[in-house]
């Protein structure tokens, strides 16, 4: 099978699902005769989407959200890999930290966000912290599971070859656990998008969360609100694909 055929086979169901979704949406608007302020038709949203990108409105807000997501993801995932490793290799650390990590995960971020803004101000920092918090749990758990599932015979081999602790981690444990860690990151990166929006709702000047509030509450521009939602979904999808591509490149390279 040629590459073109493979690509066509992969994309066909996705495109077909999108067409069915858009056709159903359009049919609902036409049959129920909904006005734009209640449920805009797909083409109205598409026009507003294009206008918001062309006049710079969307990029001004999207760029702020992307910075928050990027920093929050790097901080959250970085810490999570370290803590996840510790949880996997130290029973004491697991006993000490696990209940608090689970409790922190169970606390709704919607409740934490206003508090963080109250303590840290309305700048970049609280959004990064919220993103990092929301990213932390899935990546930490995935890392812990991944490290624990490393084949014991590999570790014995490392010991037999007199590998240092650092060499075992870098050359045996992390590569072996990489598929699980990156699986956690796939979940984490989409959650980071939610974290950034929630952080912006709690207080911000710029960002896609701010634009949603402006479109809904000040401008009553519902097509703009839908266009912003489409942008958020697009960013989440793009970031997910980036992690998948990184996963393929890294896992392939190490194997």
């Amino acid at each position: 099978m040629t590459n073109l055929k493979r690509l066509t086979n992969a994309l066909l169901p996705i495109v077909a699902a999108a067409v069915v979704f858009l056709a159903g949406w359009k049919a609902l608007v036409v049959i129920a005769n909904y006005p734009d302020w209640f449920l805009p038709a797909p083409e109205v949203v598409a026009q507003r989407f294009a206008r918001a990108w062309l006049d710079g409105t969307m990029w001004r807000h999207a760029s702020a959200t992307l910075v928050e997501i990027g920093l929050g993801f790097v901080v959250g995932a970085g810490l999570a890999v370290g803590v996840g490793y510790l949880l996997a290799r130290s029973r004491l650390a697991e006993r000490l930290l696990s209940p608090y990590i689970v409790a922190a995960q169970a606390t709704p971020v919607l409740v934490l966000a206003p508090l963080l803004v109250f303590w840290l101000g309305t700048g970049l920092l609280p959004k990064v912290v919220i993103c990092a918090l929301i990213v932390f749990f899935p990546v930490a758990v995935a890392t812990m599971v991944g490290i624990r599932s490393v084949d014991a015979r590999l570790l014995e081999l490392g010991q037999a070859l007199r590998a240092t602790r650092s060499q075992v981690v870098r050359h045996l444990e992390l590569p072996a656990a990489l598929p699980q860690i990156l699986g956690g990151m796939r979940v984490g990166v989409t959650l980071a998008v939610i974290g950034a929006i929630v952080g912006e709702w709690a207080g911000a000047d710029r960002g896609l969360g701010v634009l949603i509030n402006l479109a809904r509450g000040s401008l009553f521009d519902i097509p703009l609100m839908f266009a912003t939602l489409a942008t958020i979904a697009g960013i989440a999808l793009l970031l997910y694909l980036v992690v998948v591509l990184v996963e393929r490149a890294l896992v392939g390279a190490w194997r």
């Binding site: 129920a32 207080g203 402006l214 521009d221």
Partner: protein, 332 residues
Amino acid sequence: MFRLLRPLVVLSLLVGTVACGPGAPSAVPPVKLTVGLGYIPSVQFAQFYRAQQQGYYAQAGLDVAFQHEIDPNLITLLGQGAVDIGMADGTSVIPAAGQGIPVRYIATVYARFPSVVMAAADSGISSPADLDGRSLGIPGRFGSSWIMLQALLASAGLSPDDLEIRLYPDFGQAVGLQQGQVDAATGFRNNEPVQLDLAGFDVTVLDVDAITPLPGPGLTIGESTLAAKRDAVRAFVAATLRAMDEINADPEAGLDDAITSVPELGNDRATQLAILEATIEMWRSPYTGTHGLGAIDRDAWSRSLEFMRGLPDSNIPSSLAVDRLVAEELLP
């Protein structure tokens, strides 16, 4: 959601009508009205509580239920007809109608614009021009306080870029002012300045009424409700204005009714009375003094419409006219 449920509602009504049959009692049932007030119960809604407590709504054949909603939600719910009548900002009605949401402002409640800028009395800020280069706390760059601030600054040839804007998304800007974090802050004339005054903190208040007479919160309805329940809405407006007149003459009576409706307000009667008296001040203006409480000043609406159309990022179409925004025929 209401629109999605509408066929089911109609079907249930038909089934109900058939089931009742010819033997059903002939007494006219009261007309149900859902009334959306602000985000939380407050003494600022004393006129509604009084009309309810004193039976004015019931006497008019109305069965009124209150619902608390934030302003943006309320406007769209009114447009859908899911809420019959609401206390909505005039400055929200303008962009909402501009986007095709079918709502009309039918009676003025706040004849003066309640959103103001406050500064410490000894700050040297006594006019909009004095805000140049100073720091100002505001919940966000949106809503009625943001529109008011732009109008206030424009009168001195300034814009928000000439100030250091600090955001207080938790609405803590009055505390920020009190603690010296900012030189000035936005607030509602019948709330924060009253509370600061009671706390012994002297403030100077800058209001926008003499500059651009922005329309304050008032009774607003959706056009579908206007068509379907016109007489009931007219009766509601009359009963509410009657309660306003009575509270205007006797604020203590209004406070008693508010406490009966919301017992928590009785915990600090002195503060609540001060807020209610400041609220009553907001109901009065030279225009309502001549035309009566509830009257709609079309000229002021026209000037506000022009001002808001000229704001940066405005999406108000040039075709939008005051006739599309207000409906005075329901006033007594």
